[in-house]
Amino acid sequence: MSLDQARRIVEEALSGIEYRVDEGKGFIEFIVAKENLVEAASRLKKAGFDHVKSLTVVDYKAEDKFKIVYHASSYLNEDLAKVIVGIGTEVPRSNPKVPTLVYVWRSVEFQEREVFEFFGIEFEDHPDLRLLLLAPQVAEKKPLRKDFIVKEEPIIRTKPPTG
């Protein structure tokens, strides 16, 4: 199955919902409004996309938004397994709140927790929204946001480590 065929399937499934199509190389994304996200995801799931490969969040600081995309694919349908289809939404950086999709795709549970600690995006109704990877002090800095800049340290120290 090619991406075009997948696109037709998804477009059929999403009829009645407003969406915007973002194409990349090797995948296709459907961006919907925040309110329609759960509905759209449920329909995608019904169409056969049964698991999420990657919950991708990109911080567009210049445009003041987070783009949250659930890249889904299929295990049980071998045809659909050949494509990656994303369903996503965009939220402003000032108020990053999205409804959770855990109840649609259980496979995103840990990834949502990860996004929560790295970007500070809150997933409403998530059953267990805690830190996953980071220590609390580090998670406060929201390290994957673009405002957090990794400091370049001098590689050669003037003083050898004493210990």
């Binding site: 990349g24 190389k25 090797g26 995948f27 759960v38 509905e39 449920s42 329909r43 799931k45 049964d50 698991h51 999420v52 490969k53 990657s54 919950l55 991708t56 969040v57 990109v58 911080d59 890249h71 295990y75 049980l76 071998e78 397994a81 050949k82 990656i84 109840y103 649609v104 795709w105 259980r106 496979s107 995103v108 549970e109 840990f110 990834q111 990860e114 790295f118 059953p127 267990d128 805690r130 830190l131 996953l132 990877l133 980071l134 220590a135 390290p143 994957l144 957090f148 990794v150 370049e152």
Partner: protein
């Protein structure tokens, strides 16, 4: 048509999820890890009732080395060695899809020779990684001979990779547009010898480990993941294939030379720890087949620079002279400050533990704008939470070992 409809389906699957962070009085909470022989670099918080696990809560992140953030500050090519540190014993498999994503943005396709070279190293790495997994699994169920044997035989594959790339573990072999160097002259001979040796050894593994009555008793019926739940949890790799899901990134979206070589994907229906061990065992056999085919192909076809001609054309004359004289290709200097056009790409490849997905976004600079990595272990971690409850405490290492969880890969 909303969450509620799905809610019914949820209970039907029995994936209620466990309420964490609230301890009932008669439960016993055990912190397994990070300094514990039965946890890798992670902590599993286990609540037990008698001998039965009631809750298992993986506490990850002990090896989180911030690769996604660091990659945003480093040049494209520098990220290859960075990313392979997440699973250094499976280095080629985890980096090949990053390189594929870059190639997709660049719009180039590596020459067939580079494709075969990459495939060759990927399969060598897959065998080494499976043997690593077997070894750790053996230790986890108290079978130290399995650990020793598989680590001893892993050295054969590691040496083969060293012959091919020059490094034991961290090869940094695939680069955008091709592979870093061609194989040495005597490589096919060594590879065939190794394959012959492995065919003989695998039978002994089966005897001492997979058919061992004690091992079978420990593994059978432990950590069962039914097909539907496996799809729902989104588990990958041997874990999914042991549950009857016929999914392999090499089949779904053939990359490199995988659409030209012959191989089968073993699928088992049982979904328990033993089936997972068998899947890995059979995959080693298939990898041996692929190695043979790749070596045959590489021997038959004339040597050419294993890099895209777009880059090769810009190579300094000394590089071309070295290639003509010795058949070696050195890393091209223009790779250091490679600039990618703006664009986004996703690529997936099948590592030993399952599928790894890269999302790469470029804004036209020498460094990536965003790289998102979802590694197989990160996706398999959910198994602890949903599958381990209900089994006995002594089954936890079995489940851990059978899903072949590798924390540095999960934490990135």
């Amino acid at each position: 048509m909303s969450v509620w409809v799905y809610g019914e389906q949820k209970s039907e699957l029995g994936l209620e999820g466990t309420i964490t962070r609230k301890l009932e009085e008669d439960l016993y909470e055990v912190f397994i890890g990070p300094q514990h022989p039965g946890s890798g670099h992670m902590r599993i918080i286990v609540r037990i009732d008698g001998d039965i696990i009631v809750e298992a809560d993986p506490d990850m992140g002990y090896v989180h080395r911030t690769m996604e953030k660091l990659s945003e500050g480093r040049e494209w090519i520098k990220n290859v060695p960075l990313f392979e540190r997440m699973a250094i014993h499976d280095a080629c498999n985890v980096t090949v899809s990053y390189v594929m994503a870059l190639e997709r943005i660049l719009g180039i396709e590596p020459p067939p020779r580079a494709k075969y070279l990459r495939t060759l190293l990927c399969e060598i790495n897959r065998i080494a990684a499976h043997l690593y997994g077997f070894g750790i699994f053996g230790v986890f169920i108290g079978h130290s001979t399995m650990y020793m044997w598989s680590f001893a035989d892993r050295e054969v594959m590691v040496e083969l990779a060293e012959k091919l790339t020059g490094a034991r573990l961290t090869h940094s072999y695939p680069i955008p547009g091709g592979a870093r160097r061609d194989m040495p002259q005597d490589f096919p001979q060594a590879a065939r010898k190794a394959v012959r040796y492995f065919r003989r050894r695998l039978d002994e593994y089966r005897k001492i480990f997979l058919d061992n009555p004690v091992t079978r008793k420990r593994l059978e019926g432990v950590g069962i993941i039914p097909k539907k739940i496996a799809a729902e949890l989104g588990v990958v790799g041997p874990v999914a294939r042991a549950s009857g899901i016929k999914y392999d990134a090499r089949l779904a979206e053939p990359y490199d030379a995988y659409d030209e070589v012959e191989f089968e994907v073993p699928v088992y229906e049982e979904g328990d720890a033993l089936a997972r061990a068998w899947v890995k065992f059979e995959e080693i056999k298939q990898s041996l087949r692929i190695i043979e085919q790749a070596v045959d192909w590489l021997e038959k076809h004339p040597r050419e620079a294993p890099i895209h001609e777009r880059f090769w054309a810009k190579a300094p004359p000394l590089w071309k002279k070295v290639f003509e004289a010795e058949g070696r290709v050195k890393l091209l200097p223009l790779m250091a400050n490679l600039k990618l056009p703006p664009g986004r790409a996703m690529a997936r490849s099948e590592t030993a533990r399952g599928e790894i997905v890269y999302y790469v976004e470029s804004d036209g600079k020498t460094t990536p704008y965003r790289v998102r990595i979802v590694s197989p272990s990160a996706r398999n971690a959910i198994v602890f939470k949903y599958i381990a409850p209900g089994y006995k405490v002594m089954d936890l290492p079995t489940i851990y070992g059978s899903i072949d969880y590798f924390p540095p890969e999960a934490d990135r």
